[in-house]
Subunit: 126 residues, 2 copies
Amino acid sequence: MLTIGKLAAAGGVGVETVRFYQRRGLLQTPARNGGIRQYGAEDARRLRFIRQAQTAGFTLEQIKELLELDAGEDRSRARALAQTRIKALDAKIAELQHARDALQRLASECAAGSTGACPILASFEV
Amino acid sequence: MLTIGKLAAAGGVGVETVRFYQRRGLLQTPARNGGIRQYGAEDARRLRFIRQAQTAGFTLEQIKELLELDAGEDRSRARALAQTRIKALDAKIAELQHARDALQRLASECAAGSTGACPILASFEV
DNA sequence: ATAGGTTGCGTACCATGGTACGGAGTCAAG
DNA sequence: CTTGACTCCGTACCATGGTACGCAACCTAT
């Protein structure tokens, strides 16, 4: 059994963040023992999931839906959400790759000559 | 010569956004003709740059610095900023790629069988 | 010259994802 | 059994990146 502090530490977040997620309905407010919340391994798992889904670009609202879906059985809805997000991720990845290339160009050009300014704006105009 | 409305349209942003960028020092507040701001091609260029730098993950503060650097001649500073951001972008891209893979797994598994819930949380645990 | 659409300006408000604060209760070690 | 750390709770505040509002002045086409 975990206290909120341990749970937060396990998930790499602050105590306030756990409480925040509970307010938003992303984590259940668990049973208490003398007023103190008691968490289990499942809560830690959900917390980890939340953080990973965030890096996948889901908003907290969407993550909430995913968590509800995980409990339910609406496979097609879950699939649809995943597919939509995959598309968005592909687009975002391409975008970042493009930006990365521009920065690489910028870095090279700033390295090369030694006179004048390096063309920051220009390096993005491709 | 462009009015603020044309400039905004050209940059794919709203008028208020242009004014917002001016308040933040990202765009010069230009010369006026009878109180009306007059913009040129250079402003449109800066505006486009801002949007692209944003997709590269720069904050408005950092973009402001980049714009100042573009005018100046501190090549090494510009390079350093670029290098730092390239590293961050590489990390972010890898992260998104990872999330994408997890979603792909999720989508497949939700498609496969027809019984029970699909393991949303599990699909991220790799 | 007059109506309608833009503009200018300051200020207020919004969503997202947290973070901080203050005062009381609880728990564990010495 | 006291001290210090941790917890509970509501509410307030924060940063980022905008978006909206209202009113006066302006510009353009009819």
